[in-house]
Amino acid sequence: MFKKILVANRGEIAQRLFAACQGLDVATVAIYSEADADAPWVRAADEAYPLGGVTAAESYLNQGKIFEIVRQSGAEAIHPGYGFLSENSAFAANCAARNVTFIGPSPEAMRQMGSKANAREIAQAAGVPIIPGVDGAGKTDAELAEAAAELGYPVLIKASAGGGGKGMRVVESGAEFKDALNAARNEARNSFGDDHVIVEKYFTKIHHVEVQILGDEHGRVLHLFERECSIQRRHQKIIEESPSPTIDDETRQKMCASAVALAQAVGYSSAGTVEFMYTGGGHFYLLEMNTRLQVEHPITEAVTGLDIAQWQIRIAAGEALPFAQEDLTQRGHAIECRVYAEDAAMNFLPSIGELVLVQWPEGPRVRVDTGVQTGSAVSTYYDPMLAKIITWGEDRRAAMAAMVSALRHTAVLGVTTNIPYLLDILQEPHFQQGETTTNYLAEHFAGWTGEIVPDEEIWLALAAFEAVHGRGGGQPVATQTVGHTAVLTPWQLVKDWRNV
């Protein structure tokens, strides 16, 4: 086992990784930007070194500085967390060149899965389902129309060189195909100078379901079951759960087997996630593989009882996984809610400021992963996620009830958070019935304002707050009265003075 690990990350994930190290009796090294100098997670490590700078490029992406601190601190391994350098295969290779262990997969596996086109090829060879489609290169219009009919409508025509939705056409029926094809080709030619198109099966009801993988360096690859992460805003997950309320056992087995096959195809070690699009009726297709620890890993930890972060470290230290697939079970149900400093009623605009009050829920079935506390500042420099709240229950209903209670016992003041939004989702009937597609928020929460109709409780609370805290701390201002003239005595207001 390593003696000392440097965590090349910040916030809640740094804090969580320090905890994983502490559980293995490994010393920890924090690195921090100027903006994070006062952050509580920095003080959770055994050693802490400043990176300087505030932007990601100046700090958490600054490989030169990070390797300097590795040398200075004597750390033997680097855990990259998620984001920042975690999926940078060049960084992983640089670590190897400096004899520092990168806690994650091999640079080669990262490279292979890092390119979507490459991953698609490997998947196809490994028998992992990919989105059905046909390449239009060298095919006549009639041949493409035939292929589209074979795929089954609706289909999506998109520019091979595409991006940004240009040259994309959704075609609902064969009658529209020829016109749509011409339009897509024209648009592709005008936008990219190339009328090469791809015709793909188009899906309307999509679930994002992903499989957690754990592989060691001795050839064993296991899956830790699936997570459903369909509740997304701006293509970012905000609520995740395990098991998925959507897929059945047979699909689960097939999907998990596919994920293992893909990981095995690239000799994957460490933790990774294979993301699928589930389109109903037992059909699923590969989206991509994330070659890192995922934000939502705690729900898998809750249902499997495994500490994924610790296993990443143990695997990197050369340990073999001591259990087999049949030893693993998915017990009960876990849900994660991501608490963001953002205004869900204002297009999820990040909310910046000082956290005047932070109070997290407690209880035997609640886990809170966070890197902030009362007095912390939410800055514009980094992701405004404040915490992940994870609840576990014997079944989905119990996990949901525990989450509603946990969110109600979470008080964050000073910035606007998405807590009321999360609470409303948790209590919405379609969500409660497990009808969670990637379109769920657009379908059920467009135009959400979060306004509450004040009731008796609100009025009383408001009156109580104003009566107790309404005036600047409740301290009366000291005055002297001279005749009818109240003369202010500045010396008695010393607390409001400031140096200039």
């Binding site: 306004e451 609370a461 109580a464 707050f465 009366p476 003239t485 003369v487 202010l488 500045p490």
Partner: protein
Amino acid sequence: MKLKIKLNNTEHELHVTRTGEQIKVVRDGRETVLTVREVGENSVTVEYGGQLLRLAGAKKGDKRQMWVNGRYVNYERVQKRAGANTAVAGSLSATIPAVVSAILVSVGDEVSAGDKLILLESMKMVIPIQAPEDGVVTAVKCAVGDSVQPGVPLVLVEGVN
């Protein structure tokens, strides 16, 4: 005290009187008495009829963000308009020589006890002149940049009691 609140763009009025641990709230002619059980830096727990009401709030000027038993409410405290019954007239002055660095109010402004009216600068310090009580500014007798001597009235506030 009369409490005016702006919530969801509508103004509401309550009467709130605190006597020791008791807070009397009157709204729409209905009276409720709350008992203060716990007071934190930003929080309060009150009890009424056996119910515990936990709340916490953050203030930014007159704007409030409040957490009430798991719900969040944003509102604004509307400072009351001065009534006709002015009891005490007061003028405020500096007690040490200083230079006026900012005037934060103008004639006709309603102010609350503790509101900063004028900022004075002296000895590398900023010293605020604050309203001793709720009232209306009736005169401003200085300008930014003026050197002022102790005891010379700078601003007049007619109080409401």
